[in-house]
């Protein structure tokens, strides 16, 4: 038996040389870079350790949330939700018109495709916090600049998502509609959107979900809603009210998060 095994082994071809595994190299390089950063920026973990006690003291000030103005907070949360909803609506409308131009299989011209793709990239690259600052300066305080900022930033996202879904539409479906003589808008409406309707609704819900979270923060730069109120109470060192506001925001975000996850599951 042993003899046979040996014989068998010697007649089997040796394995080809093992390919190089680059993971350890990359891991070491990453660790070295992280260490260099800590050294260079003088990030001191001792401060963190010594600071724990101070931080605990600071957080304890939020211990007694003050819900006396709850109805006002809920109204403000409503404004924030409305901001997010309108921002998403702007994005949806813009993406609806831009995405087909940015999908290789639908676009009327390769140059149009290139230009619209770049426009979408640019929109995506502008952080919404920065956009909100610009719009607040231009339009004044309130929910409108917030909605615009969210709209511009997320049009870039939705436009790209939709365009990529459109590009995955089966070529045979596109040809079936094109072969009847349908023109660009007709091809988009008959071969394009119906084929990606579910996917597109899923993306839109995800963007709405994200915009609700972001709209709460945008208030901090003056774009209305509950964020603005939180900004004010924090400035006044009113920890009770701040705590209540934070809790309202957290609860809303959790609810929206679960609702949108549930809806998206239903869609797919």
């Amino acid at each position: 038996m042993v003899h046979d095994l040996k014989l068998g082994r010697s007649s089997v071809e040796p394995l080809p040389p093992k390919p190089h595994n680059l993971i350890p190299t990359w891991l070491i390089a990453t660790l070295v870079i992280l260490w260099l950063i800590v050294r260079d920026l003088e990030i001191s973990f001792e401060t963190l350790v010594y600071g724990v006690e101070d931080m605990a003291e600071y957080f304890s000030r939020y211990g007694q949330p003050d819900f006396t103005h709850l109805s006002r907070y809920l109204a403000l949360m409503g404004v924030t939700l409305a901001t997010a909803l309108w921002g998403t609506m702007f994005a949806l409308i813009a993406a609806f018109f831009l995405a087909p131009l940015a999908a290789r299989n639908f676009t009327p011209h390769p140059t149009t495709y290139r230009i619209v793709r770049e426009v979408l990239n640019f929109m995506r690259a502008m952080p919404d916090l920065l956009l909100a600052l610009i719009f607040v300066a231009a339009l004044g305080l309130g929910p409108l600049p917030g909605a615009l900022a969210l709209g511009v930033h997320t049009s870039g996202f939705l436009g790209k998502f939709f365009a990529e879904s459109l590009e995955r539409v089966d070529q045979s479906v596109c040809e079936g509609v094109a072969a009847t003589g349908a023109n660009f808008p007709q091809r988009v409406m008959y071969a394009g959107w119906p084929s990606i309707l579910r996917e597109a609704s899923g993306y839109t819900l995800y963007i709405l979900d994200r915009n609700v979270r972001m709209a709460s923060v945008l208030g901090l730069v003056g774009a209305g809603g509950i964020g603005l109120a939180l900004h004010d109470t924090l400035r006044l060192f009113d920890y009770g009210q701040s705590a209540a506001l934070i809790l309202v925001i957290l609860a809303t975000i959790l609810i929206i998060d679960h609702a949108s996850a549930w809806l998206r599951r239903r869609l797919t």
Partner: protein
Amino acid sequence: MPTISIRSVSKRFSNGFEALKGIDAEIRSGSFTVVLGPSGAGKSTLLRLVNGLETPTTGEICIGDETVNGRNLRHIRSRVAMIFQQFNLVDRLSVVTNVLTGRLAHRSWIGSVFYLFRKEDIDIAQEVLSRVALTDKAWSRADKLSGGQQQRVGIARALAQQPKVILADEPVASLDPISSEEIMILLREIRDQDGITVVVNLHQVELARRFADRIIGMNSGKIVFDGKPEHMTPSVLRTIYQREGIEDDPSLDMALAYA
């Protein structure tokens, strides 16, 4: 009535494959022509060129006195309908909407992008659906139908265009024998009753013999036979189905013995 004229057409794809090597043919209006040949002979490419889904590398194709080119595609396609092997319906849309797609070239985009159609278009859809016997499936989603039914929707869409020519690219290749028979009879009926020119790509010799007025045999991008079905002798079949570089092909003899 338009005649399809194919004038010294060749097609080379960007990957270098030469699908058609100089094709000349006239297809009379109101005729039922079958293009027969093995897979890869260039049958599909030929049909796609006529509908403008591909553009010829050299030569030209005319429908009546109109040359197929990029500028008149919408007009050409409104008169030259196409039926596909994989039906190419929009799965998520209802049968009726798929059929109404056939009306798009006749209407501007303004109403049609909102899925609004004129009464006359709805009437046409209703009429062609009853013709392919699918009235009861009108509101079903297209992908809920069987293959044979989906192909009938494809035919209804083509009929809704009220075309002069119907091109069918392997319309029965994905169907069972019974459905294939139904589809071929339907196509033949369309030619007989409406006088629509029908060009069908097939690879089944038996179906070609039974339904065609004229058979065009193709092999590796060239026309190797053009004539009536009764002139298609075993030796002609050998030329059509001959594989390149193989002189004595036992599997060919076997296959043709049963054709």
